[in-house]
């Protein structure tokens, strides 16, 4: 992929923060309010409906815990990829990014098994308030995992050729954000009784 000529606007840095990192933070900020709104709605409903705890007890806490472990480990790979990119070692960064997205794949696979079991037991999106929030929150998060994996593979392809290495850090930041959202979702959906 031949990178098209960048405008001078893209290369300036009046704040001292690299432009790529700056826009990543703004994207994350806008995502925080989206998840924040949904989470706040869920928490308010959950507090008002103690009976949702019965539904919540059907979720598989061990699967959730395993997924938490997988995501955290993949975030470590993203950090190491950033370190490699800082050392101008594009191929190593690419390898670590691919490893990171493998973590995303394992996460989504476990989710797939969980949801299949839930649906077989009759718990679907419209089965009640808890399940509606469960599928919506985890689904929106899952889409972010998927998007992150795809972008990461694209960034890795460039990084392998030592191109656009600044993007390695940005996709890493985004991946940490996706990770942190899960850190909120796991106790709120799986552990809270």
């Amino acid at each position: 992929m031949s990178a098209s000529a960048k405008p001078i606007a893209n290369t300036r840095s009046a704040t001292g923060i690299p432009t790529a990192r700056l826009i990543t933070w703004w994207v994350i900020a806008s995502e925080i309010v989206i998840f924040g709104g949904l989470l706040a709605s869920y928490i308010m409903h959950r507090v008002g409906h103690p009976e949702w705890a019965d539904a919540a007890s059907h979720t598989n806490t061990w699967a959730g815990a395993f997924n938490t472990f997988v995501l955290l480990t993949s975030s470590l790979c993203a950090v190491l990829a950033h370190k490699a990119a800082d050392g101008h070692d594009g191929p190593k960064a690419a390898k670590l990014l691919r490893l990171t997205s493998l973590g995303g794949l394992i996460f989504l696979t476990v989710k797939g098994f969980e949801w299949t079991k839930d649906i077989h037991e009759g718990f679907v999106l419209s089965s009640g308030g808890f399940w509606s929030f469960y599928y919506t929150l985890a689904g929106l998060h899952g889409l972010h995992v998927l998007a992150g994996m795809i972008i990461m593979l694209i960034v890795a392809a460039d990084a392998a050729k030592n191109q656009e290495l600044q993007r390695v850090e940005c996709i890493g930041l985004y991946w940490h954000f996706v990770d942190i959202v899960w850190i909120f979702l796991f106790p709120l959906l799986y552990i809270a009784r």
């Binding site: 405008p7 001078i8 419209s126």
Partner: protein, 558 residues
Amino acid sequence: MSTQVVHAEPGILKKYFFSTDHKIIAMQYLFTGMAMALIGGFFAYVFRMQLGFPNQHVPGYGIVTPGKYNALVTMHGSIMIFWVAMPVLIAAFGNFLIPLMIGCDDMAFPRINRLSYQIFLLSALVLLSSFLVKGGPFGGAWTAYPPLSAVGAYNLTPIGATLWLIAVALEFVAFLLGGINFTVTTMNSRAPGMKMYDIPLVVWMIVLASVIFMASVGPLVAGAIMLLFDQTMSTGFFDPTRGGDPLLWQHLFWFFGHPEVYVVLLPALGIVAEVVAVFARKKIFGYKTVLYTTWAVGFLSFVVWAHHQFVAGIDPRMANIFSVTTLLISVPITEMVFLYIATLYGGSIHLDTPMLWALAFIGEFMIGGVTGIFLGSSGTDIYLHDTYFIIAHFHYTFVPIAIIAVYAGLTFWYPKMFGRMLNETLGKIHFWGTVIPFNVIFIPLFITGTAGDQRRVYSYAQFAEQSRPALQHLRTTSTIALLVMLSFQLVFLFNFFWSLRNGKSAGANPWRSATLEWTVPSPPPHGNFAELPTVYRGPYEYGLPGRADDFLPQNVPE
């Protein structure tokens, strides 16, 4: 990978349809917004005809049935806010002005910018496609309160409701992408020497509006997903019989909906600031104070939303708190208006068309602001809520924002956008032909609203307790004034397109303005600046004594 920056002129298709040039994208937003304004204006004409001359054949439309009336008012509101005010005030002016005014060659992320417009266009097409589906476009009001919006059996426009929701969500995505780009560009891509307080106010205002938008729209994006599932996947997020809560939607909607008022107001205030400084030949009085008041407004705009819900059954103690915050927000806004008036004081005022629009904005917006006091106070609001008083109130804010300030901006920057001057005589005819009828439309509605006319009623004659035949002449007056105002818009359209070819050549700086966009040729070439400028001072150095020119451009070393 090429590191050399090339600004070759691309081919026609690439130049006008798939361009990444911020000026072309601005034009795409502008013309899409203008086309949507014609549609939204036509709907206003149709339902006002129904209210002025009930149950008669409306020329160009036909008989307005109750269902069609609901769809018309819903679409008028949605289109005018999401597909006219937003694209024109934020996206068109933001795209055109930000790189030029901060002295760089384009947005920091031109391809994200193009994607933003493409998603916006898609959202407009999705909305318009709802006119073709069974049941017609959504008729559950632009606020889309559930259960009316969630249940097809209630709103009778099940497909239209879903398409409306998807269109609005896509529109949000478009403006998130655009707004993030504006913010990053202004933060990082400024010309060397342009410090934080050297940025022209209109750029500040558009960026702050983008940040407010970004911080407020998230919960509604979540709400839109929930409502979409309620509509199509039989969830019960907003259904109280299944553990949901319809009030939740109102909170999510207005947590965005009220900041949204300021999202469109701020760019309008920024445009007016630029025009007032140039045509009063005076430095903005209290540039930093304008910004401080803007930050105060931005902050307060997040804690006033429940004043839309005083009759929705919220706790009266909570209503008191929101009354107080709502009255508080009028303090910084008033201060800002005072600063503009102080800028005029002692200035050398030139009453060209852009200045007429800017002055009209200040005057008319104050009427909108002052009538808001009645609605922000929960006691009076309970009586006035959902009457024509509130219609008149918010049109006295939105028309100055989305019509009057937009005309101020268009007439001011038209020479820069197209290289030619608009006709001044036609401009003044259009000005008076718009502003006078505007007042004649909405002053009667304050009266009918206070007398008890409820909004969203397609025909008062059908409801005995609503009929009040003595008020009909006011409703008719309002309709006739609308016809006058709409017909005068033809003068503008003629002037706009006629001047593209026949206007007087503008030159680089027809208004003798000090900001950077006037230092380049009109229209600016691809890449904007032949040599990228360095900035030496603030944007409003006007009325300087002892100089051949009475102003000092930002890029000229002393």
